[in-house]
């Protein structure tokens, strides 16, 4: 009799299709991992196509890498890893049932994620001014410095200073900068924009979900016993982070012959 009562109580705490919280949690975990498997295939096509084309046009793709701001990409890698750390802390706070901390860490994750998107946007702006966006605007000859505007000029000055004072390879830098762009570089830039844009879309969706999670936490939806949504979202956010960890070297760092 009492066993039956316990079953009834544990069933009343979960959606009606589940027996208890354990089954609910296992189901959502498996569901999330299955979804991430889908995502791996989704990004996998992009990575596979990129690899095939890179193999086919090694010079054009190397020249394309040279046109990307590796230090902005590197900075963004650090930024994203930091946001993943905050996400991990939010999940930890959720396991302890501390709603205040969940909200604070999620807000911090949103903020740092926003910083990533801002830096990414700056990169897009630079590439736009340098006529690297595929389409009618794309130019085979790199534009002169005075045509690219103040913002891009500031980055150029920084790069020049960095190469002359820190790396001491300004000759090579100047040489590589003015190399003509092979026509197929447009293909590289196309993949760069598609892959980073789809990645950024995942981040924007993630930020939207985090806002919902914050509202839920404010309403007291989570406790030490039930915090599946935070934990599952954590898996998603780390996945988006890992995709970037592969994107960054593939796009920015493979630049030496």
């Amino acid at each position: 009799m009492s066993e039956h009562l316990v079953t009834e109580i544990s069933r009343s705490l979960v959606p009606e299709q589940f027996e208890d919280r354990h089954q609910q949690k296992e189901s959502s975990t498996l569901g999330m991992w299955t979804f991430l498997a889908t995502e791996i295939l989704f990004f996998g096509v992009l990575f596979a196509s990129y690899t095939i084309y890179r193999h086919q046009w090694p010079d054009a793709f190397r020249r394309g890498s040279l046109d990307l701001k590796w230090y902005l990409g590197g900075l963004n890698t650090a930024v994203l890893l930091l946001s993943s750390f905050c996400m991990a802390m939010a999940v930890h706070a959720a396991a302890l049932g501390n709603s205040g901390k969940i909200i604070r860490y999620l807000a911090l994750t949103i903020l740092i994620g926003g910083l990533f998107l801002a830096i990414k946007g700056t990169e897009y702006y630079i590439e736009f001014r340098e006529h690297l966006v595929p389409g009618p605007n794309f130019r085979i000859d790199p534009p002169a410095e005075e045509q690219t505007g103040v913002v891009v000029g500031a980055f150029d000055k920084f790069e020049k200073w960095f190469h002359s004072s820190v790396l001491h390879d300004e000759d090579r830098y100047e040489h590589e900068r003015h190399l003509p762009r092979p026509g197929n570089e447009e293909l590289f830039m196309l993949f760069y924009f598609i892959m980073t844009a789809i990645h950024a879309t995942h981040m924007i969706i993630g930020i939207g979900v985090m806002i919902v999670l914050i509202v839920m936490a404010k309403r007291g939806a989570f406790s030490a016993k039930y915090h599946n949504p935070v934990e599952m979202f954590g898996l998603y956010w780390h996945f988006v982070d890992i995709v970037w960890v592969f994107l960054f070297p593939a796009l920015y760092l493979l630049r030496q012959p």
């Binding site: 295939l41 595929p134 293909l187």
Partner: protein, 551 residues
């Protein structure tokens, strides 16, 4: 005057159908059974539109010069037929209707793991269906269902982008359904329902779901790339920019060959249920049937380039893909042999679902064996893009998948509605479908072998006799499909009550009421026997397969 009130001496049992009656309660339902019914209605509508396009194709080909006003109209007809049949009927057919309805019942669960996600899948499906019907209404699309670049991206002037968006949304509906099934089968089984006590239908749905989840995203992102190429006029697959049109074909078939198994594996599941029930025997080789489903799903991912033997791929990879395509015939043959041995010395009852399945076994075997012919590298060079290929995949898709769907609908109709359909008309419809189907598609084998290419608006007059035979068969086939629509709907009002288990099946889904109550089982069932224990079956009605928990 005193009011006379009629008080029934019993209250009808509450079922998922009469639990509530408002339209709102249907549109916001989270009950897997109701969502299954919603899917059934939606895909039936889509089937009829797609069949209408097929009718246009067959009418056009009555004359060697073509009867439709322009060749472009013909191109649109076969594209709409292919696109709608593949994504809006064949792919969702058995999984979303029967899978949704039956998986929780078969494993003793109250619902799928994520009921709200399940409803969201249906809404995504409906949104994509409305979009693609819009495409059909406002001009259509003419690229063929394969959307080969650069034709689809740089040259076609029809609604390619909108169609792609519709398929993309439809794909997410499939992915979410597959995800739901995988989690449900892993985590929601009733106590004692081990993997090897599951009905074989669940195994085939599991294999199907794996393909849903792993293949569909590949199509989704490939179509995104195609849409970008089309909208920006920048060639990702355009050779002028260094892109590779063959890469598109690789990516497309990486999805679209496994999708063939999405269409046929569920039917295998239906066949396993129907054959065991109407032969009253345990299946011959339960584990062999279960694992061959997984083997087909796995090997099915490794055979895609047999669609591209003449696309300029390396002959060495052609040899490998040809060999792997032969290999997929092995687990498929295991199934056919298993069912045949299950029938051997069984006490076979030739009821309507069984007739459909027997038809399926014959037609699918023909379709499968001609598939092995086409997988032969040298032979395929000769027969590629002829009507031989068209006949082959229609024997597999229509003779296989649609016959299986019809068998499943008839078999579980009493469970879904609580009513029996008219058995006489059911048998007539099964026979008409079988005859009409063969008359439609067997002549296509012959003319394909003689060299009639597919997708041609006009053709040399010596092929006319085959086309006329085929069109005649198609009209008989149409009758075979319309007939069930009439007598099944008729049965809803006039059919006799089915009772919980009219076919005396041993599967768990038959051990509850027909139609089932909203919560499926009064008490969570505890399973203590392997499935299909027909040799242990006691006379009429009782079942040794299931014992109920005493509360």
């Amino acid at each position: 005057m005193t009011a006379v009130t009629y008080i029934p001496d019993y209250a009808p049992p509450e079922t998922y159908l009469n639990a509530s009656h408002t339209i709102r309660s249907w549109l916001l339902t989270k009950d897997h059974k109701r969502i299954g019914i919603l899917y059934m209605i939606s895909i039936t509508i889509m089937f009829m539109v797609a069949a209408g396009a097929a009718a246009l194709i067959r009418i056009n080909l009555l004359s060697p010069t073509g009867l439709l006003p322009q060749p472009l109209d013909y191109n649109k007809a076969f594209t709409v037929h292919g696109v709608l049949m593949v994504w809006w009927f064949l792919v969702p057919s058995v999984p979303t209707v029967l899978g949704n309805f039956l998986i929780p019942l078969m494993i003793g669960a109250r619902d799928l793991a994520f009921p709200r996600l399940n409803l969201a899948s249906w809404y995504l499906f409906v949104a994509s269906a409305i979009l693609v019907l819009g495409v059909v209404l406002f001009g259509g699309v003419d690229t063929g269902w394969t959307f080969y670049s650069p034709y689809s991206s740089l040259f076609s002037n029809t609604h390619v982008t909108l169609t792609i968006v519709a398929i993309f949304i439809n794909g997410f509906s499939s992915i979410l359904t597959g995800l739901n099934f995988i989690v449900t089968i892993h985590k929601m089984r009733a106590p004692g329902m081990t993997w090897f006590r599951m009905p074989l239908f669940c195994w085939s749905m599991y294999a199907t779901s794996v393909i849903f989840v792993l293949a569909t995203p590949v199509l989704a992102i490939t179509l995104v790339l195609l849409a970008i190429e089309r909208l920006l006029r920048i060639g990702i697959f355009d050779a002028a920019l260094g892109g590779d049109p063959v890469l598109f074909q690789h990516l497309f078939w990486f999805y679209s060959h496994p999708v063939v198994y999405i269409q046929i594996l569920p039917t295998f599941g239906v066949a396993s249920e129907v054959v065991t029930c109407f032969a009253r025997k345990r299946p011959f080789g339960y584990a062999a049937i279960a694992f061959s489903s997984l083997a087909i799903a796995l090997i099915g991912f490794l055979v895609w380039a047999h669609h591209m033997f003449d696309a300029g791929i390396s002959p060495y990879s052609g040899i490998v893909f040809s060999f792997l395509s032969f290999a997929v015939a092995v687990p498929t043959a295991i199934k056919i042999f298993s069912w045949t041995f299950t029938l051997h010395k069984g006490s076979i009852a030739l009821e309507t679902p069984m007739l459909y399945i027997l038809g399926f076994m014959g037609l699918f075997t023909i379709g499968g064996l001609t598939g092995v012919m086409l997988a032969t590298l040298g032979l395929d060079m000769h027969m590629h893009d002829t009507y031989f290929v068209v006949a082959h995949f229609h024997y597999v898709m229509v003779g296989g998948a649609v016959m299986g769907y019809m068998a499943g609908i008839h078999f579980w109709w009493p469970k879904m509605t609580g009513k029996m359909f008219n058995e006489f008309w059911g048998k007539i419809a099964a026979a008409i479908t079988f005859i009409g189907f063969n008359l439609t598609f067997f002549p296509q084998y012959v003319m394909g072998y003689l060299g009639m290419p597919r997708r041609y608006y006009s053709y040399p007059p010596e092929f006319q006799v085959y086309h006329v035979l085929s069109t005649a068969g198609a009209s008989i086939l149409a009758f075979g499909y319309l007939l069930p629509l009439v007598y099944l709907l008729w049965s809803l009002k006039y059919g006799r009550d089915a009772g919980p288990n009219p076919y005396r099946s041993m599967s768990l889904e038959w051990q509850t009421e027909s139609p089932p109550p909203t919560e499926n089982f009064e008490h969570t069932p505890i399973i203590s026997e392997p499935p299909y224990a027909y040799d242990l079956q006691l006379p009429m009605g009782s079942s040794a397969a299931m014992k109920l928990v005493e509360a």
